[in-house]
């Protein structure tokens, strides 16, 4: 089991030692920082599970540090603390993406409780990722994926007219568009997240869920339709036990229909991972499916 690490960035020494003790007692790894540069370096190199961030820094540095943290580690859970809690401050912190906003005057057990809940979510995500890795699915994973995505963006000079190409390349790499990847792209090339989502939902080739190891595309073009393409698709649905557009439980196959792959001479046609099978009948499906593990 991976150890969950919490970085504490706190000006108040007493509060720091209090948190340090309580977090360690709860079984977390703790590292304490008093310098923003060191904190950022650590967060970049070894992304932690959570950061406790003091908002009462001089020159109102706290809120901007929150943003910088999210730039280097998108999706990172940050619990913000302050000695002077206000409603405006809370709204501001949440708007900037904090996981929670707590008062330093409250009991430390309350803080640990909130941190625990945030880490429970994190722990579940880590578990899901590990499971996925066992089943050989590539997932979005800091910081390796981020570096890859960044190199995709730089190939096209971070131009905002290449949005479709970015999403295609990311999808090709990861087999889906993870939310964190979209957030990262939006921030990096300075377009709004809704605009990216607009594109990702308009075009059919994008998926927000991971695809299986193999993708079956059954052609439903007109030539395939009149030669029984729809019957092939139904046969696949029965055999794989999933409706079109879904992925089997063991992540072996995703089933998609496609409007003409331009191979009408061989109708009816389906493709597995881009390999064509022409002049197909339902009877031939099982032996072809068995070739793919």
């Amino acid at each position: 089991m991976t150890e969950l690490v919490v970085l504490v960035f706190e000006r108040d020494a007493a509060r720091t030692s209090e948190l340090d003790k309580a977090l360690k007692a709860a079984g977390y790894g703790v590292r304490v920082f008093s310098d923003a540069t060191a904190l950022l370096a650590e967060a970049t190199q070894r992304p932690p599970s959570l950061v406790v961030l003091d908002l009462d820094l001089p020159h109102s540095e706290g809120p901007s540090l929150l943003k910088t943290l999210h730039d280097v580690a998108p999706g990172l859970a940050v619990v913000t603390e302050t000695a002077k809690p206000t409603v405006e401050g809370a709204v501001e912190a949440m708007r900037r993406g904090a996981y929670n906003y707590i008062s330093k005057h409250g009991p430390v057990a309350h803080a640990i409780d909130i941190i625990g809940r945030a880490l429970e979510k994190e722990r579940m995500e880590i578990e899901a990722r590990e499971k996925a890795r066992e089943r050989k699915i590539r997932t979005f994973d800091n910081p390796g994926s981020l570096a890859e995505i960044d190199s995709i963006l730089s190939r096209h000079h971070y131009s905002d007219s290449m949005l479709i190409a970015y999403l295609q390349d990311i999808q090709k790499d990861l087999r889906y568009l993870p939310q964190d990847a979209l957030r990262f792209v939006a921030r990096r090339i300075n377009v709004s997240l809704p605009r990216l989502y607009g594109i990702a939902t308009f075009y059919k080739s994008f998926s927000f869920r991971p695809r299986g190891r193999h993708t079956v595309h059954v052609c439903l073009g007109t030539a395939c339709h009149v030669r029984g393409g729809a019957r092939l698709l139904e046969s696949f649905e029965r055999m794989l036990g999933i409706p079109t557009g879904e992925t089997t439980y063991d992540d072996r196959f995703s089933l998609e229909s496609v409007r003409c792959v331009g191979c009408c001479g061989l109708a009816p046609v389906f493709m597995v991972d881009g390999h064509f099978y022409g002049k197909m009948t339902q009877e031939k499906i099982p032996q072809i499916v068995n070739r793919y593990e």
Binding site: I164, Q168, I199, Y203, A223, C260, G262, G265, F276, Q282
Partner: protein, 606 residues
């Protein structure tokens, strides 16, 4: 290229089109290379990848030079025999593609019915060149038209030839290409102009754009360069559908090679003409074939059409004058410039000049791409070139123009195919898909199929298209389920008229065509579904029942194995029983009985 029998040079070409690669062309090529190096003593044997010959039904196809013999459905294990033909001249009759049974002499390309009635302009290099070789293209007069245009002609003269040729847009609408170019040329473009090649071939059943890009990319690039010269553009885009990865790869490669050779880029052929081309991949949206939607997509936005005017020729990509033509249109440009507009105009009919590439598919014997003169009749296409309907069944209709087109009934088989005649019959030319339908095709099902397609692809911007198509689909959905009501036919006709008149772009305006033409020509089929709850073609699941014909059934048990729900039971060698309550009407038993089982046709559908 003519190589006499006396020379020691032999060439064997393996078609590398999509269908042939799917059919195992790569493996055949490797096997031929191995065999040739082993036993080709004293001979110079070239084993080459060929351009798509577009006779996809025969995939994979191998051509042998000299002689031009054609072998079809070749397997890697046949390589040895084919190399023996090269060495000793002994024809492999078993694999030879024959125009009629019992033909004595070896068939060559020019003899075979499928090929002999065709006139090749856009597909001029079919089966003759390696798609990835610029040398091959140049050896077949490639880039000669561009050289002529840059050194001997003014841009006005290039435009003049295209105008004179009468070439019309091959993407569907048939707008005169020369006129389109002229409008763009006359639009002020101080910051440059664009030319775009629309390769977002979305019409199901049409694949000529794919084949052209995959097998002769330079023909398209040269056409674009000529267009850019005539219009005064300095930058071009090819917008390719992402479902065509091979097309995308080959165009990108061709652009790189052309750039390296000074055929694209700055100061082409050392003249003052500069022009470069970029490739943009689509992301799966049918509506992006519409020109304003396509431009929005290139700009990195959702591909939604916008009202015109302003037309792209005035305000197009990034607000600059832009000319968009389809792949096939661009592929026609170089021969026109080289041989003159008058030559092209001498082919075809009064208003539709030249040739058109069609993808002849569906229930027809010879499927593939064909290029014929405008005005060729449907009969010539389906019977002389296509070899007739599959299993000699009765022709019911030919569907043209993709989802926006219509169904031409068998009575109109002598219709000469051009833009005007097709639209008179209620259909459109579209991108050139010709889908042959026989008595086993249900026209209501076909209408339902196209309307479902369009419902999914409607971008949702304008109400008549978004809501109208959905209502049409619901009504048709009821009819194919046997829940049709009196008045449905009239309602469909009314709806169709409103959608046609009120939609924003071509997708909506043409969307009722499949319904209206089938209603016009096959009203009796609709009535059979609505009033008698029967599907005459035996396609609509809710209206058919499968049963075993006891007298025909030999009890071979193949259907028992094929049935996914164990609805068929019966001991070996005795007529089987089919339980209609369990049957899900998947047709698996029908398929095996029809094609493979000993009994044949013992599964009956009614």
């Amino acid at each position: 290229m003519s190589v006499g029998n006396e020379t020691t040079h032999r060439k064997v070409t393996v078609c590398f089109g999509t269908a042939c690669v799917a059919g195992g062309a790569r493996e055949v090529l490797d096997a031929l290379r191995r065999e040739a190096s082993r036993s080709g003593a004293g001979l110079e044997i070239t084993v080459a990848r060929g351009k798509c010959g577009a006779s996809c039904d025969l995939a994979p196809v191998v051509t042998v030079e000299p002689g031009g013999a054609v072998y079809g459905r070749v397997k890697p294990s046949d390589a040895g025999e084919i190399v023996k033909h090269l060495v000793g001249g002994k024809v492999v009759r078993r694999l030879a593609v024959s125009s009629r049974p019992g033909l004595d002499s070896l068939p060559v390309l020019a003899d075979i019915g499928f090929f002999k009635n065709q006139v090749l302009i856009a597909m001029r290099n079919r089966g003759r060149i390696d798609a990835e070789s610029l040398d091959d293209y140049i050896a077949n007069d490639g880039y000669l038209a561009l050289a002529k245009a840059l050194t001997e002609m003014t841009p006005e003269q290039v435009l003049g030839e295209v105008k004179q040729s009468g070439l019309r847009g091959r993407g569907g609408a048939g707008f005169p290409t020369g006129v389109k170019w002229e409008i763009c040329r006359n639009s002020p473009g101080p910051d440059g102009k664009y030319v775009i090649c629309n390769a977002d071939e979305g019409d199901p059943g049409a694949f000529m754009d794919r084949s052209l890009l995959e097998s002769d990319p330079h023909a398209v690039l040269e056409g674009m360069a000529l267009g850019a010269r005539a219009i005064g553009a300095d930058c071009g885009y090819v917008y390719v559908r992402e479902e065509y990865p091979l097309a995308c790869e080959r165009v990108i490669k061709a652009i790189e090679v052309a750039r390296d050779c000074g055929l694209l880029g700055k100061n082409i052929m050392s003249t003052d003409f500069s022009f470069d081309i970029h490739v943009v991949r689509g992301a799966g949206a049918f509506v992006c074939g519409e020109e304003t939607a396509l431009m929005a997509s290139i700009e990195g936005k959702e591909g939604r059409p916008r009202p015109r005017p302003p037309f792209p020729a005035q305000k197009g990509l990034w607000g600059k004058p832009t000319n968009i033509n389809n792949v096939e249109t661009w592929a026609n440009v170089a021969p026109i410039v080289l041989r003159g507009g008058a030559w092209y105009a001498s082919l075809g009919t009064a208003k539709s000049k030249g040739t058109k590439v069609f993808s002849l598919v569906g229930k027809v014997k010879n499927t593939g791409l064909i290029e014929v003169e405008m005005g060729t009749t449907l009969r010539q296409i389906v019977y002389d070139i296509g070899g007739g309907v599959l299993k000699d069944k009765k022709l019911k209709a030919v569907q043209t123009g993709g989802p926006s087109g219509g169904c031409i009934p068998a009575d109109l088989i002598d219709l000469p195919v051009d833009y005007e005649e097709l639209s008179k019959a209620g259909s459109i030319m579209g991108s050139g898909g010709l889908i042959v339908m026989d008595e086993e095709t249900c026209m209501v099902d076909v209408a339902h199929y196209f309307v479902s397609f369009l419902e999914e692809e409607s971008c949702g911007k304008c109400t008549p298209c978004r809501e109208g198509i959905t209502r049409m689909r619901e009504i048709l959905g009821r009819i194919v389920k046997g829940e049709g009501k009196r008045g449905d036919i009239e309602l469909l006709q009314d709806l169709g008229k409103v959608i046609k008149d009120a939609s924003l772009c071509g997708l909506g305006a043409t969307s009722p065509n499949p319904v209206l033409t089938t209603l016009k020509y096959f009203r009796d089929e609709y009535e059979a579904h609505i009033f008698r709850k029967r599907c005459p073609a035996k396609v609509c699941k809710a209206l058919i029942v499968y049963r075993v014909v006891a007298e025909k059934c030999t009890g071979c048990q193949r259907c028992v194995k094929a049935c996914p729900v164990q609805a068929i039971v019966g001991p070996r060698s005795q007529p089987h029983n089919l339980d209609p309550a369990k049957c899900i009407k998947c047709g698996a038993c029908y398929e095996v009985c029809k094609f493979d089982a000993i009994a044949g046709d013992a599964i009956y559908v009614e």
